[in-house]
Each structure stands twice: as C-alpha cells, then as structure tokens.
Amino acid sequence: MHRTILALLLCVPILACGAGIAPEGRWQGAVAIPGNEVQVVIDVARDGTGAWTGSIIMQGLGVKGAPLSNIVVNDADIAFDIGDRFRSPAHGPMAFTAHLTAADAMAGEMRQGGNVAKLELKRTAPAQVEPAPRSTAVGRDLADRWIGEFELGGYPRHVTITLENHAGAAATARFVIVGKQTTDIPVDLVTEDGSFLRVESLANHVAFEGRYDKVSGELRGVVELGFAEVPLVLRRSGGRPS
C-alpha cells in the first residue's frame, strides 16, 4: 500500500507536466533581466498543418507580435527563438526554453548576448498569434537590377538591389552596399505594398523603401541604416527598358 501511494504521488507531477498538457495558449509573465525586468506575452498555437507557431510581445523593448522561430515542443518542454530581433552577432538569437511546471504555469530561461535570465509564465487566455510578415512577389516593372548612390559620413556609398520573382513564390532580393568596404546584406523581407517596395534586413537594421515612378523609371525612396535615413534614388543598371 505504501508503495502504491508512493507510486501515485510520483505520478501526479508526471501527469501534470506530461504529454497530456500542451503549451498552447497565451502566456504572460516576466523575464528577470537584472535591473530591467521585462514583461512578456507569448502566444503559442498550432497552425492549419499542425505545426507550432507563435508570436511574442516584449513590453518596453518595442516588440509587438514578433514571430517565434525554431519552435520545438517536447512533452512538457518548449524552446524557441525570435529570429533576428535582438540577435547578437557573437551569441546568436534571443532564445527561450521553458518547462510546464503545472497545467497553467511554465518556468525557464531566456538567453541573449550570452546572458541568461529566469523566465516565469502563466497561461492566461487562448493564443492570439500574430501572423508573421511574409515576402510578396513584386511587379514585373520592378524585377530588375537597380543601382544608386547616397552619401553618409562624408563619403559616397554605391547601392545595388537586384529583385527577382519566382513562379508561384515570393520575390527575393540581393542588396549590396559598397563604401569603404563591400557589404552584401542578407535580406529577410521583400514586399510590395500598394506602390511601395520595401527590401529589409532585420538583423542588420538596413532597409530600402521606395516608390516606383513610372515617368522617370526610377525607384525613389530612402535607405535606412540603423538610426540613419537617407534619400536614395535607384535606376536600372541597364537603363530604361524598351
């Protein structure tokens, strides 16, 4: 009898934290960064294909609905990162791991920049996952190699953006800036929204946003480099199409 009771007692936490309880839902809590506790809201759900999806809000850090990446759920454990947002060049993405400690509670860690902080979460509501921004195809006029120049810090930088459409899929872009050195910027997002084209590298905080001017055949806009925003006009490298 004693043995049976012990076995039952041992089973309680296993049942509470086990395979029967999934991490779906809205989780709210705090990351205990020393001197700056950050309130977080994490939404986790399955999409139409059954794959895990999610988004995060980090109050005070300017994050609202950033998509979760590399979500791994293993029984009572969940791990994910938030992609290029707060990615440290040396230490990789901001990453979370958590373990279900009760039906509606998780505890774990958040890592960023090689630092580690405790994470405490409570399930408060059904998940409200924000859809992640996705690249789109771009107009046929735009699928070309574009060149331009801007000046920053007292010397010129040459820009080349090459936009390419793919059948049935989103466009891709190559974004190269040549100043005192050549930087081939990895592009995360290419979108055409109305008449606006945006080519963005989240990790590098670099973007071009502009409008296609049919009269001049130019893409007129700005290049965003971290804090700086500088006007930039792009022209087709081969001149105007006939």
Partner: protein, 434 residues
C-alpha cells in the same frame, strides 16, 4: 592626524608655488599623456575608492598629495591621494565633466552651470568666478539619424566639458558658447575670447606660446596665447546629413612641433604646429577618435569608438605599429607611465597594456559593470547593441545611451602617481588601483 599632515604638506607646497607634472589634464600643458614613474604591471588591489553622488567623467589630476576632480553631482573635489578621504568639496550649479587644472595653489575648473571657477587648492575657497556665454551640448537636426528629423537633438555622446590649461599667466579653456577663453589667473579678468563656429568641448593644449584646440565647427585652431589672434586653422571632415562624422571632440597633444588630434570624422591627424599643414592622417573607417592621443618614444597611442581598437602608430609617418582589438568603445585618453599604458573603456574596464606590444597585462572591472544591469553588456563584455539601440524614435537612443553609460563606463583618463592608477567611473566612484 594624517589628514592634518596632508593639509600641512599642501600648504607648504603651495606656499612655494610648486606644481606637480600631473596637475593638469593629460599630465602636462602639451597633453603628452606621459606620467612620471612606473605604473603597476600587475593588479594587486583596490587601494581605495571614493564614492560621489553621480557619474564621474572628469579625469583626476594630482598636486601635492591631493587628487582633484569634478563630479557630475556638481562638485569639485579634493581627496587625499593616500587614503581617499575627502579634503574638501565645492559645489557648482551643474555637472563638472572636465578635469581641473592646478597651478600655484589654485584649482581651475569649469561647470555645466556656465561658470568657470578658481578655487584655493588647500581649502576650496573661491578665489574668483566668471560666467561664460553658457554651456550647451553639440546639437543638430537628424543627429546620428535620430528621429524626429526636424527636431534638434543634443548629442548624448558629447559628455565632456573642456579641461583648462594654465600657461603664461593665463588659464585657457573652451566653452559650449563656441569660444575659447584666456583668463588672467590672478584676477579672473577675461584677456581675450576667440570665437569658433560651434561648441568647444575639446581641451586646449599649450605649447610655445600657442593655444591649440579643436571645435565642433569642424576646424582645429592654433591661437596666439598672448593676443588671442588666430595663427592658422585646419579643416577636418564634414557630415551635413547626420552630423555624425564631424567635429573635434578630441583634445590635442603637441610633441616635437607636431599636433596630434583625433576627430569625429574618424581620422587621427598629425598637423605641423607652426604651419598648420597636415603631416599625415590615420583613418579609422567611421570610428570616432574621441580621446587625446598619448605620444612617447616616437609612438602615438590612441583608441577608437565603434571599432574598439587600441592603436599605436609611428609619430613621424603615421604607419601602424601595433593594433589590439578591444571589447568596447574607447573615449578616454590612454595614459603612459614607464612601460605601461592605462586605458579606460566604456564597458567599465580599466586596461593595463604593454607599451611596446599593446598586449593586455591586466584589467579591472568597475562595480557597476560587474552587475551589468539591463544586460548592457554581453557575457563577453561587449556592448549589447541589439538590446540597447532597437529604436531611433524620439528619446529612445538617448535613453539607450544613458543606459549604456550606466555600467560604470570609464570616460575618465587615468592618472598615475607613485605606482597608483586613479580614474573616475560612471558608477560614481573614483578608483585608486595599485
């Protein structure tokens, strides 16, 4: 009793009009950055630390047994070099973000209250005080790309005030009102005022009857110390778009007829002290050179901001001799004692490096940098940029900068006296290491 002895020794020394070589910013009027004696080749202990009410950006100076420095808490301090006990403090109306200069028993210092003070070195009593045209930070619309673009934003990296230098019966200093001042040391009378086009927060060097100083107007000036007339001017880089790569925040060193100065345009310049012609420049590819270079044994030693480099170049040719990759921005000026160079880093590290190789001998972390509140630093003590500068909107970059400087950053250039290294930190402590 010990305190009485220090006071007595101060009195005796000042009565004779004696001044120590370490009694001005960068050790001497020419700003060589060289300090007599040896510095510690190994770290043994914190000899003492002196807490103040706010961050310390000022570089300490030494005269007759006392350490003098300014605090952002608005005070000018005199502290016993031996035990770190306060000898006196004098309040001003604003942060004292510059080094005092001590000469003939008088401490000279400027404050963000727009006033310049002459105090008795022994007691802190006021000798005289004058008002400048008022302090202000360098500012511009769209500064560093910050938004809103149409709003003028004060530069959060303009942390220093101009440290005075004494020579030829005058004390010289720059001001946020855009002028360089020459003031009679005895009377406090303004002898001349030299107008530049923008904020002057670099510190003047004095050599051969000439005052050398740069302005945020992008020009570096040589001014006749007696008359206040311009001898020559040298044009640094311009950056009309985001004003990031413009202005002389660095203070010059003048050695063997050459002026060495850093610039926000990312160059270290060597300029002929007589003609104002450029001898050479060393380009740092966008990284500011804020500190004053140290010059010794034919070498020019300096640090950079974003690239976080410790560099040694040949004083004659400008060719690189040594380079070491640091972990964070260097704004403070390197100080040389014997064969050791001491450098403060904005991640709250005091580094001791070998003069010949630049190799790290030892390092000390300030208290606040060990706490690393808000994860300002990564685990390997680099600035955690992604977590700090995630927005360019409104005050976010300014808040981020304030947070960045909250890890016990060392803007203060080390002072070395008798084998002890003294420096201030933004954690509010003046440290004495040996």
């Amino acid at each position: 009793m010990k305190r009485t002895c220090v006071v007595l020794s101060l009195a005796a020394a000042f009565a004779g009009g004696m001044a120590d070589a370490q009694s001005t910013f960068r050790g001497d009027a020419a700003h060589s950055g060289i300090y007599p004696g040896e510095g510690p080749r190994q770290f043994h202990r914190v000899k003492w630390k002196f807490p103040t009410g706010d961050r310390i950006v000022s570089s300490p100076v030494y005269a007759n047994g006392a350490i003098y420095f300014g605090g952002d808490d608005g005070n000018i301090y005199a502290v016993d070099a031996a035990d770190g006990r306060q000898l006196w403090k004098r309040s001003t109306g604003g942060p004292v973000a510059a080094s005092p200069a001590v000469a003939d028993g008088v401490v000279y210092a400027g404050s963000y209250d727009g006033k310049f003070y002459a105090l008795d070195a022994l007691t802190g009593a006021m000798r005289w005080r004058i008002a400048t045209g008022g302090e202000r930070r360098f500012e511009a619309k769209g500064l560093h790309g910050m938004q809103p673009k149409n709003q003028t934003i004060a530069d959060p990296f303009d942390v220093y005030l101009s440290s005075p230098v004494v020579g030829g019966g005058s004390v010289y200093f720059g001001s946020g009102d855009g002028s360089v001042y020459a003031v009679d040391v005895a009377t406090g009378e303004v002898k001349w005022k030299f107008a530049t086009g923008d904020v002057v927060h670099a510190s003047p060097a004095y050599a051969d009857g000439t005052v050398f100083i740069g302005s945020w107007d992008s020009y570096f000036y040589a001014i006749d110390a007696a008359s206040g007339k311009e001898k020559w001017r040298f044009h640094g880089g311009e950056d009309p778009v985001i004003h990031n790569q413009v202005g002389f925040q660095s203070s010059p060193a003048v050695v063997n007829g050459v002026v060495y100065t850093g610039c926000r345009d990312s160059n270290l310049y060597a300029i002929d002290a007589v003609t104002g012609k450029e001898r050479w420049r060393y380009n740092n590819k966008g990284s500011w050179v804020i500190g004053s270079p140290a010059v010794t044994q034919g070498k020019v030693i300096f640090g950079t901001s974003d690239s976080s480099l410790y560099l040694v170049v040949d004083a004659v040719s400008g060719k690189e001799i040594a380079r070491q990759q640091g972990k964070a921005y260097v704004f403070a000026s390197p100080s040389v004692a014997g064969n050791t160079v001491f450098v403060g880093v904005l991640n709250g590290t005091l580094e001791a490096r070998d003069l010949d190789t630049g190799n790290l001998l030892w390092e000390y972390y300030t208290e606040a940098s060990r706490r690393n509140d808000g994860w300002v630093l990564t685990a390997d003590r680099q600035f955690n940029g992604p977590l700090l500068f995630w927005s360019n909107w409104r005050e976010a970059p300014i808040v981020a900068t304030a947070r960045q400087f909250g890890v016990g950053s060392i803007f203060s250039s080390p002072l070395i006296v008798g084998g002890v290294v003294y420096f201030g930190s933004t954690d509010g402590n003046l440290y004495a290491l040996e």
